[in-house]
């Protein structure tokens, strides 16, 4: 069965194989399914059944546009770009806003929080939507600046600025929401 043999192939190789045999597309989809569902949920806070629909639409869009994939990009950046667009379209269509749920499990992002018992269930909806998404891509999906630039279609300098501002705003919100010591 194809799905059992495809772990040895790179994404780019699988794209080429898919163009010859559609079944190989399952390998690409399966490889990113869990990550992308989590990403959609994180940037939209939508229930998983909506995330499923968005992901399915994204996969179909990716399949149709497979010939447009430029191998000078990383496949996952290209796929995340499609998922990002589909999620934004879904939110616009259903009059939702980006509303992120961040898990307090990222060491790098919350590294500056020394006190172990701090409440990090933060009011993240106060963050600008673009700040929320960029934090997810940087600290949870662990993309580098170049990849984030390709996903969000921003210049790399803008990505760096947005990350710096997002961290600053996050910190300000956190400081405000932190219970004061007696």
């Amino acid at each position: 069965m194809i799905s059992q043999n495809c772990t040895k192939y790179s994404d780019e190789k699988l794209v080429k194989l898919t163009l010859a045999n559609n079944d190989y597309f399952f390998c690409l989809m399966d490889r990113y399914e869990a990550k992308l569902l989590r990403y959609i949920h994180r940037i939209s806070n939508l229930p998983y059944y909506d995330a499923d629909d968005i992901l399915q639409d994204s996969y179909i869009a990716a399949f149709k546009n497979l010939n447009d994939f430029d191998s000078s990009y990383k496949f996952n950046s290209w796929l995340y770009r499609i998922v990002h667009n589909q999620t934004i379209n879904f939110l616009k269509k259903h009059h939702h806003h980006l509303s992120i749920s961040l898990d307090p499990d990222n060491e790098e992002f919350i590294g500056w929080l020394d006190e172990k018992n701090d409440n990090i269930d933060l009011p993240l909806d106060q963050l600008k939507p673009i700040y929320k998404e960029i934090l997810v891509l940087k600290f949870f999906e662990e993309f580098n600046y170049k990849e984030i630039a390709a996903i969000l279609h921003f210049p790399i300098g803008t990505v760096a600025t947005l990350i710096r501002r997002a961290k600053l705003q996050f910190k300000q919100i956190y400081e405000k929401s932190k219970p004061k010591n007696p």
């Binding site: 399952f26 989809m29 399915q56 399949f63 497979l66 010939n67 447009d68 279609h153 210049p155």
Partner: protein
């Protein structure tokens, strides 16, 4: 419960969905590059015409048409560039400034080409003011002999005796319409240096 990946693959097979051919994407990308180049070229031609009119003392009013065409095609070139791949790597102000610079640079090169066609088809409003044979003269009033006679030097440095039905201010630059005989110019209409002065047309 079926995974999204399996459901999607089943759907693709059931609906017989095929990837869009590569040629379509190449064509699409080429079209945006072509539109970008066309926009930039028209912007450059507009720049060239403005420079041409200025150099030939034909700029007796602001060339709104060419100016707006220039701005419109600059904006269009930015839009088309943004549709090309990897354009996102460049900030918008950089794209805008680059396109402005390229248009002006190309425009200054286009001016070196023969613009005779433009000269032939350009409307009356662009008529050269340094054309005494056809009744157009532009320059400065140097001195007054009398309230109706003045000494005048045109853009080419030729001296003229003006016969004016109304007083002129010595030292001012004006554009004149009238008839030239030898070194005399009989004024029919006086226009200010800038603008058409249409409201001050002499009867």
């Amino acid at each position: 419960m079926k995974k999204v990946s399996q459901k999607t693959l089943d759907f693709i097979k059931k609906k017989n969905i095929k990837p869009v051919p590569r040629s379509i994407f190449i064509l699409k990308n080429l079209i945006f590059w072509l539109l970008y180049i066309i926009s930039l070229t028209i912007g450059a031609i507009s720049t060239a015409i403005i420079i041409f009119d200025y150099q030939n003392h034909r700029l007796h009013q602001i060339p709104y048409i060419w100016f707006f065409l220039f701005l419109f095609f600059i904006v269009l070139s930015v839009f088309n560039f943004q549709k090309t791949k990897k354009s996102y790597l460049f900030p918008l102000p950089l794209i805008l400034i680059s396109n402005l610079f390229l248009s002006i640079l190309f425009g200054s090169q286009v001016i070196k080409l023969n613009l005779n066609t433009y000269q032939k088809i350009s409307p009356q409003v662009f008529t050269s003011w340094q054309d005494p044979k056809n009744g157009y003269l532009a320059g400065r009033v140097i001195s007054a002999y009398s309230p109706t006679k003045y000494l005048f030097v045109d853009l080419a440095g030729n001296h003229w005796q003006l016969i004016s039905p109304s007083p002129l201010i010595v030292g001012t630059q004006v554009k004149l319409i009238g008839t030239a005989t030898d070194n005399n110019f009989n004024i029919k209409e006086i226009r200010p240096w800038f603008g058409c002065g249409c409201q001050n047309k002499m009867k």
